[in-house]
């Protein structure tokens, strides 16, 4: 698989009784993250004010994209932290774990989102459940989702995401 000009062999891993996925994990892959961030930075709409990313795997991508574009980024956490002030949360069903997953924004990050054009940044957009949860959260706090940016879309191709590539789903042997 080519990712922004960098070649990687992705392992195909069974995640459910009827489905396997090409496992793309860019945690620890600095070259892929930096190249993907550079490619996405070029395609980011100019009017974006803030980036939002779900923890964990896409966080380095958001960091690199933020560094390149000068836009701040906000991390949606998967658990509510005791130090958060007025947290805002949503529950989504994750494809990789199959379990309900909480997404939480710290209230102190809301000024970066309220009345702002926001780009959601993720590694892989698959069923879109995380995307939907994040969009709802951003809307809840008064932000407008101006773009969705990912390294890959997965499963059904979708044109609402600025992506650098597409991953098919596989049938297990």
């Amino acid at each position: 698989m080519k990712i922004a000009g960098v070649h990687r062999e992705l392992p195909v891993v069974q995640v459910g009784p009827e489905v396997s996925v090409a496992l793309f994990n860019m945690l620890g892959d600095t070259e892929v993250v930096e190249e993907a961030a550079a490619a996405l930075a070029q395609r980011m709409p100019a009017d974006i004010d803030t980036l939002v990313t779900p923890e964990v795997k896409a966080v380095p991508l958001a960091h690199a994209l933020s560094r390149l574009t000068g836009r701040p980024y906000v991390v949606a956490r998967k658990t509510e932290k005791p130090y958060m002030i007025n947290p805002v949360s949503r529950t989504v069903i994750s494809i990789t774990t199959g379990k309900p997953q909480l997404l939480v924004l710290d209230g102190t990050d809301v000024p970066l989102l309220k009345g702002k054009k926001v780009a959601i940044v993720d590694d892989v957009v698959s069923t879109g459940s995380t995307l939907k949860g994040l969009s709802d959260l951003i809307t809840d706090v008064g932000g407008v989702v101006g773009a969705v940016m990912a390294v890959f879309t997965e499963g059904s191709p979708r044109d609402d995401v600025i992506a650098l590539g597409h991953l098919p789903l596989f049938k297990p042997d």
């Binding site: 891993v13 945690l27 960091h63 906000v74 005791p82 990789t96």
Partner: protein, 178 residues
């Protein structure tokens, strides 16, 4: 809101002070989302990487951005130890953490495919904040189980008075009230 100034190089942030236990107040450091602070810490910490370092080893969540930035600057790869078992993991290394700060047990997980990248390597452990050192010791055990040799323990911040074999850029107090 009470704040406390923390500084790395030319970057100063006034972070909130939170009460974690009755009478115990700590300045709350969150480097995730703060690109300037992370870049400043990464640039300072790579100077402390021993030349023989092959790989950086960190754990989720917030130190990941620091490890990424240090990796981008130094050209050395990094590996992330997880705090939850992921469905794709095969034959992972499992390590309990005795966390003194929270008094609860945590578990670290490292997929065998990631552990293979550490075998025989000289690794530097990378942290944002080290407090009691419990997590640091657990990460060190993960490194040893993976067959790596720990050559450095680097942190942006050391919080409290624990004596640890650690290189930190900045000291943060634990504030007590009567």
């Amino acid at each position: 809101m009470e704040t406390y100034p923390i500084t790395i190089g030319k970057i100063t942030r006034h972070v909130p002070v939170v009460e974690t236990l009755p009478g115990v107040h700590i300045p709350l450091v969150e480097i995730m989302g703060d690109v300037e602070l992370v870049q400043a810490a990464a640039e300072a910490l790579v100077k402390h990487l021993p030349p023989e370092t092959d790989t950086l080893l960190t754990l989720e969540t917030s130190p990941i951005v620091l490890a990424h930035a240090m990796s981008a600057i130094s050209g050395k790869p990094y590996v992330v130890v997880r705090r939850k078992r992921r469905p794709y993991m095969q034959d992972p290394i499992i390590q309990e953490v005795e966390s003194l700060t929270l008094g609860v047990t945590e578990t670290l997980w490292l997929d065998s495919r990631m552990a293979e990248k550490l075998l025989g390597h000289n690794v530097a452990l990378i942290f944002d904040v080290v407090s009691s050192g419990g997590t640091m010791m657990a990460l060190e055990k993960v490194a040893k189980k993976a067959g790596a040799n720990v050559v450095a323990r680097l942190a942006a911040f050391h919080q409290g008075t624990s004596k640890l074999p650690l290189t930190a850029l900045s000291e943060i107090p634990i504030l007590q009230t009567a």
